[in-house]
Symmetry: C2
């Protein structure tokens, strides 16, 4: 499809916006009038700028309060339109958005609306310009696409057509199905916007809370499907009024916008492929290779130097990991327990080394198990993922990899043609005691992100990897709120809670500032007997996060535990949660490693599916306390 975006969707001056739009790979741009108004160059200069950037000006907008205006104002309004037509010709665009009249004194007589729009189309037609008529959700007399189509049909002018905007229909809970019955060539333009479902004034909702497709709660594939069925082949354009977008970096945001359109096209295509009668034109929709099946995390790779590597090895040994291998040609070691593989990379002149230099000890790569890494990479790249090729030694495997939004790597790892794993080919592996603490697998891996990056990361996982996203939960830190939204593979074998905080002093903000960027926040290992695991870890000298005794007094009030069991929980700093179905979670946290990330040992019983949200507040308070202790120590 021809993909477009309105200038109002991005932050910055008009040239900054146009450059971002071109860089993201859009084909065209809607010029929002105010952006032009505030720019101190002529419309001809903008036309040239767009031509130089290789983007078409798909639309000029908006022209307001025209049809059904007070009769004594009609002539004046035509004059106003002629001035804007001059401007459009200077800009070199032939289409203007006319939105339905929202003024209180406008008239609703159908014949007047038809006549007014016919008159306007006559004026436009003399210059070979076209009018796209749109129903505003808060239009005084016209607020549905059905009314718009009725009027456009009656006006019957070649220079007048329908303009559709998903927000105006879906915000009023309109049914888009009848769009399929409009002739595709009478739909002049389509704007796509998503939004969270909010019970508020629709104009305020529209002006401040729109978002890119897939970021909100509207059924946008359900809106686009009848448009494709109508035979429409024109631009698909993003018109997003969003307070956050007005301040977001325009280049990154424009890139997200394009990716969201691609994702919408893929979903819509899948929907239309299920139709009984084949839909023509399906091929105009984006169609990447289907997502692969996953089977958990193959390994995690930490960037360290020699000193940090030794420290981390020590902590991991306290957690029951054993050194199971050494890379054949690099300063890279493998720690293993159960199905968990952790790689510590201190190779100089490597990707990991660069990562260490800029972020300190941190997670630099996540390898996920796929069936077909080539196909998985192809999909990621189709979604504008940035592939990565590292240095490969003789007889080593080259791993398919794509950059995560923070610059770390996501390896897509399968078995090679001979059925060998990466460890077989690249490492000298030795047998180790299988499972000293009983840790079995990586249950989940939480990330700390800058506050405005949550949507970007969520879209990344949803589109490139076809993950699903859970609902957002809000958790109280002593110094502000933390928001958490988990993404997970469809088989739930990979789970990544993404955490943000808009406040300066929370644990998440603290983690971010020590990382200089986003980073892994904690890694949770699954086991079958947490007390056995923690007993051994304590014996090995592992430092656990200290939980206040008051927490256990409250557990005593809430649950019918005997005192001995409670004492045991308190002694081992084990937290407890129970869900509505009787599912139980036991979990314990380590103290943070180098003030950056920490580990968690968890045991799920009776199908507990969450992440212990009920206990996050006590954990965050304990971490804040540990931090302030750290500060105190540092001061002494």
């Amino acid at each position: 499809m021809h993909r477009s975006i309105a200038t109002v969707s991005l932050s910055g001056t008009l040239p900054e916006k146009l450059e971002a739009i071109a860089a993201a790979g859009f084909d065209g741009v809607e010029i929002f009038e105010n952006d032009l108004l505030y720019y101190d160059g002529s419309p001809r200069e903008i036309r040239q700028m767009c031509a130089d950037l290789g983007i078409a000006i798909t639309l000029f907008q908006p022209f307001r309060d025209f049809e059904g205006c007070r009769r004594d104002r009609l002539a004046r309004n035509i004059e106003r339109a002629e001035r804007k037509f001059d401007l459009m010709q200077e800009l070199g665009t032939d289409l203007v958005l006319v939105c339905s009249n929202a003024s209180a004194d406008s008239v609703g007589d159908r014949q007047i609306l038809v006549d007014d729009l016919h008159l306007l189309a006559e004026h436009a037609g003399k210059r070979n310009l076209r009018i796209g008529y749109e129903a505003l959700a808060w239009g005084k007399h016209v607020n549905t696409y059905q009314q718009v189509w009725d009027i456009v049909k009656a006006a019957d002018h070649p220079n007048l057509g329908v303009l559709l905007d998903s927000f105006h229909t879906l915000s009023l809970k309109g049914d888009p199905a009848a769009i399929a019955d409009i002739p595709g060539d009478k739909i002049f333009f389509v704007q796509m916007a998503d939004a969270p479902i909010l019970n508020m004034d629709v104009l305020e909702w529209s002006r401040h809370f729109r978002c890119f497709p897939g970021q909100g709660e509207f059924d946008l594939p359900g809106f686009l499907a009848p448009i494709i069925k109508s035979g429409y082949t024109g631009p698909l354009s993003l018109e997003i009024f969003n307070d956050g977008f007005r301040a977001a970096p325009p280049r990154a945001n424009a890139a997200d916008g394009l990716r969201s359109l691609l994702y919408l096209e893929e979903k819509t295509r899948k929907l239309l492929e299920q139709e009984a009668a084949p839909v023509p034109n399906l091929d105009i929709l984006f169609s990447p290779p289907q997502a692969d099946a996953y089977d958990g995390i193959e390994f995690l790779e930490f960037a360290v130097d020699e000193a940090q590597g030794a420290k981390l090895t020590n902590v991991l040994e306290q957690l029951g990991f054993a050194k199971a291998g050494q890379h054949k040609s690099k300063a890279v070691s493998l720690m293993r327990q159960g199905d968990i593989n952790l790689i510590l990379n201190s190779e100089p002149y490597s990707f990991a080394h660069n990562f260490f230099e800029s972020h300190g000890p941190s997670l630099c790569a996540t390898a996920i198990r796929v069936k077909d890494s080539a196909k998985a990479l192809e999909r990621a790249v189709a979604y504008k993922g940035q592939p990565f090729r590292g240095l490969v030694g003789p007889n080593e495997r080259e791993l398919a990899a794509v950059r995560a939004p923070d610059g770390s790597l996501i390896y897509l790892v399968d078995q090679d043609a001979q059925g060998r794993t990466i460890y077989d080919t690249d490492f000298s592996v030795k047998e180790v005691k299988q499972n000293p603490l009983g840790l079995k697998r990586i249950d989940h891996m939480a990330m700390a992100l800058p506050p405005d990056n949550l949507d970007n990361w969520t879209l990344f996982y949803k589109s490139l990897l076809d993950f699903t996203a859970d609902d957002e939960v809000v958790l109280p830190d002593p110094y502000g709120l933390v928001k958490s939204r988990a993404v997970r593979s469809r088989d739930s074998s990979i789970r990544l809670p993404l955490n943000i905080s808009e406040n300066r002093n929370t644990a998440i903000s603290h983690a971010l500032s020590t990382y200089r960027g986003s980073g892994v926040h904690h890694i949770a290992f699954d086991c079958d007997d947490i007390f056995a695991a923690v007993t051994k870890a304590k014996e090995a000298g592992l430092a656990l996060l200290d939980i206040p005794l008051n927490y256990y007094d409250d557990l005593a009030a809430r649950f019918d535990f005997d005192d001995e069991f409670l004492s045991e929980l308190a002694y081992y700093n084990v937290l407890y949660d129970r869900d509505a179905n009787g599912g139980e979670l036991f979990h314990v946290y380590t103290e943070p490693f180098e003030d950056r990330f920490f580990f968690e040992i968890i045991q799920r019983r009776n199908g507990y599916a969450g992440y212990g949200a009920a206990n996050v507040a006590v954990r965050l308070a304990a971490m804040a306390k540990a931090r302030s202790k750290g500060v105190r120590h540092a001061k002494l």
Copy 2:
């Protein structure tokens, strides 16, 4: 009244909260259970901490889902209560909040609720503890204070009483009038919370959007009035769940909380004084001296050094101001035009000098004309305003002054006993040409504030000075949104738009970073003939903010101006706005002075009452352009 606040209203660890609460001057604190849970000291330590700080523990809260619980859980629930009673006795508080059962499986049979609460009161009574029963707005069977009082009356136990929370009544649009009929001694506790009117799930609304009295849209004096009429003399406590408060500095926030309670008391007292029958107990409500009448701004004082003073003098001379006086003993000069007095202070070892040292050239004091400065100051101090006394030379007047929230001064200036103004007493004044550009008075003065300070400033002006606050407007800057809320004296002779921006790169954020704190953003002067004024100013060499020609093309489309007039507007960079009633605004901006603040010349016609919000976006874009030019110049 006994003034209290819940720990959940503030950010930080429990000790940080308690210290902030004591420092603000509260008499007591509600301990929110989670704050205790997450604290790693015993309840006895908290009790001691409060005693040392001189604050009472007024309440322990909440105890949930008790009355009407599933019958098989009643015994277990009593046991849970006994555990919490232990805790309360350790804490040294006798009152617990029991909120109405919100669980889906609770029963609503009135007799069961009565019996359950009677049983709980029996248990509490054995320890001399008391139960305050509160209706949650989302309680399953009980969600009004009328139901609560009915049940408490029927249970008829001395250790059981009513607990009121303004949010739970007003969010459901309940009428508080009948509270007056509850015997005051059966109301055990009162919680006050305001909120913006939001059309959303009431639980989410309550948990995230409460605010201090006067910051929202509830009629809180209307809620407190019947409580006072009931004879209630217990604590008035703030229980504010607010996402912003969870991250705000606790000391400043607690101080705002106390001030908001005082303001609420004053308003409530005024309301009750209008009652036909005198209300007993009125004297427990805060009663500061009534606010004074105002008569505009007497003078503005700028902190400068010699070099900046010369530059600013030059700009002011281009604006038609003349040097009209010199302070008798200080390096302080007076610039005058019409009714506008501007003071440039470069006196070393002065308040202004300190202000200059930390903020650069900036507005350091605003003098407002009052009838009785002593009374005005007394009111400000009663509202915890910080009075200021400067150095006073021989035969000089001492001006009453209070610190604004940013540390600048607000002088409260009247004529002295002999009817002489400050200029007569302290300055050597000379006659100057009265009004070269025709600027008459200070129309308004806009301030740039850090984003989380808007409520603080608004409350400051509303309480200390009895100003009113206009509705908030949102204005688009190229790099984010700017919010503006004007406060004004009741006679509108003093108008202060307060501007904030949550985004990093807007004009407001830019102004803040150059000020290192809040500061005056621009000062608008009123005149009768803007073209005459601007012509002279241009001749004098004044640099005006350049407005793009596209803006005037749009004016041409929108209004029926002839081309000559439009050219004149464009030539002089004059902006235009027209309101719905035909009121007209003409205004022009200067380029920023030292990248800090700028001046505006405005002419209002036909009763135009706003501030030209329609043109703020083009001004912000022009300023962003000017800034980036500045950056470019700086780079060359």
